[in-house]
């Protein structure tokens, strides 16, 4: 009883009550805010993660527009069965240039964090147009409208906006955005300037259409997912958490 008797003093004095409330809010706020200042130590220091190429970034916009994240996660969790199925667990570093990240919270379809390189461009095109053409038991909707031409008129402005929130696009990358986008979607030349600016970018048209289509952008994005970090060079103790 004794301690609750003293508690009444706190509750019945407006000054003490105000101080008590202030202390509670400060503690609650610190718990939420302080971890954000340690983000530098939270993100693993691994090589290879780069901002998305203009074409991949447009593909990512389509991924978000079509709501792919509602059924597909992009986060291989550090569990044995997930690592067996999808590959190395996802690192925080791998989505550091995602605004917003696409980790997702539900898997109606499989996780896509490491889908890059797993299938051919041709497979992705068939599968996006009508998933049941290649996977008879699939419940994914078809996206045949992605055959339309890609509108990339704002890509340089998009990249500038992303730079404001922390994606390190260089002036050179922004100046060449449209040229790079078209080059990646039309040229098979692995020594093209765009491949130099964005290593591991998947070159070439994904579909049969010589114009730049939304399918080209989508497939370029899917093909780079999870491929930027070379895990044969990553020491496990460096990323242990």
């Amino acid at each position: 009883m004794s301690i609750f008797k003293h508690h009444a003093k706190l509750e019945t004095n407006v000054f003490f009550l105000a101080v008590g409330i202030l202390l509670s809010v400060i503690v609650g706020g610190l718990v939420e805010v302080v971890p954000l200042f340690t983000i530098e130590s939270t993100i693993e220091k691994v090589d290879g993660v780069r901002p998305y190429s203009p074409l991949e970034q447009k593909g990512r916009d389509i991924y978000v527009r079509e709501g792919c994240y509602l059924c597909h996660s992009q986060m291989v969790r550090p569990f044995k069965d997930e690592v067996e199925r999808y590959g190395h667990y996802s690192l925080a570093a791998e989505s550091k240039y995602d605004h917003p990240f696409q980790w997702g919270s539900k898997r109606t379809g499989p996780d896509l964090a490491r889908v890059g390189g797993k299938y051919t461009n041709d497979w992705h095109v068939r599968h996006l147009i009508n998933p049941r053409d290649v996977v008879p038991e699939s419940v994914m909707p078809g996206y045949p409208h992605l055959k339309r031409e890609l509108d990339y008129s704002t890509i340089d402005a998009d990249m500038k906006a992303l730079r404001v929130v922390g994606v390190p696009y260089t002036d050179e990358q922004i100046a060449n955005a449209k040229k790079d986008l078209v080059e990646q979607a039309t040229s098979d030349d692995a020594s093209a300037a765009v491949a130099g600016r964005y290593p591991k970018a998947r070159m070439g048209s994904a579909d049969a259409n010589p114009k730049v289509t939304e399918l080209d952008a989508m497939v370029a994005y899917l093909q780079v997912l999870g491929t930027m970090v070379d895990f044969t060079t990553v020491k496990p103790e460096k990323i242990a958490r």
Binding site: M1, A8, T38, G117, T120
Partner: protein, 291 residues
């Protein structure tokens, strides 16, 4: 301020509030509730000490137990490898041909290979390797583009077909029509010849025969038997990759000679380890058509 006093009936303190002579009892919380409350407070403090909890300037408190989910995963995987090593170590040490000869190893490789196939290969080649008409080859039949022996299969699975891996199987059919190597008339004739060849019909006197002998036998060989070395499919049977129905055969041949389609396959050695590829090889070989 209202005064707190003891209620004479219940012996409890009141809150000091009074409405029309009715006073509110300030009954203490049940003892069990108070104990549970203090237990959770103690638990949380112990948890802060034992587990990773607080951010510091450059790091975070590790906790005396030193738990990390990624370390736990490492030991889980190690335990799993240990459990499988009885078979996997042997599979890793010997060639695929010897794996098939050993009954236990073959069973293990078949089971593991099936799981790997369904995860990685079935999206294109279909469950059970039935393929996708017009797109991806059937693996459950007797027809092989790049060879159906264990070593051939292992090579194809490891390095794929027409991809960016330096060991990938590469070959490209010339664009006879699109690049003007043959006229439309000649392509039509050679298509007639190939259709006759594939349906085992008479090819005698067909004008396409000479064109075939001149342009096509280099890769597709005499009589159109094909060559596994360059991945040129056999043309002397009725198995077609890029067609839907029987009626379309001639049109498909014309299209293919004019401006060929080429399939492609990823290099799985970039994703899977050597043992997994050996198990996959054993499974694919068993699907029906393994030589």
């Amino acid at each position: 301020m209202a005064s707190m006093e003891k209620d004479s009936v219940s012996g409890q303190y009141t809150t000091g509030h009074e409405w029309d002579g009715i006073r509110e009892l300030n009954t203490p919380l049940p003892k069990w509730w108070v104990y549970v409350f203090w237990a959770t407070v103690i638990w949380s403090i112990a948890y802060w000490v034992a587990m990773p909890a607080w951010p510091t300037i450059n790091d975070y408190s590790r906790g005396v137990l030193g738990y990390a989910s990624r370390n736990e995963l490492e030991s889980d995987i190690k335990a799993q490898k240990q459990a499988r090593s009885k078979f996997e170590a042997k599979i890793a040490a010997i060639s695929v041909d010897d794996v098939v000869k050993d009954k236990d190893l073959r069973n293990f490789a078949m089971t593991g290979g099936k799981v790997l196939f369904n995860d990685n290969c079935a999206p294109c080649h279909g469950t059970g390797g039935v393929g996708a008409p017009g797109a991806y080859p059937n693996l459950a039949d007797d027809e092989w583009i790049w060879g159906g022996e264990l070593a051939d299969l292992k090579q194809t699975i490891s390095f794929g077909v027409r991809n960016t891996n330096e060991n990938s199987r590469q070959s490209e059919m010339p664009k006879f029509g699109a690049d003007g190597l043959l006229t439309a008339e000649q392509i039509n004739q050679v298509a007639d010849y190939v259709v006759a060849l594939s349906s085992k019909g008479s090819t005698a006197g067909l004008p396409g025969e000479a064109i075939f002998a001149e342009q096509c036998v280099v890769c597709h060989q005499d009589g159109g038997v094909g060559s596994k070395d360059v991945g040129s499919p056999a043309l002397n049977n009725n198995i077609w990759l890029f067609k839907g129905s029987k009626e379309q055969v001639k049109q498909v041949v014309i299209n293919q000679v004019t401006n060929p389609q080429h399939g492609s396959m990823p290099a799985w050695s970039e994703r899977l380890d050597e043992t997994s590829i050996k198990m996959l090889t054993v499974y694919v070989h068993s699907l029906g058509g393994g030589k």
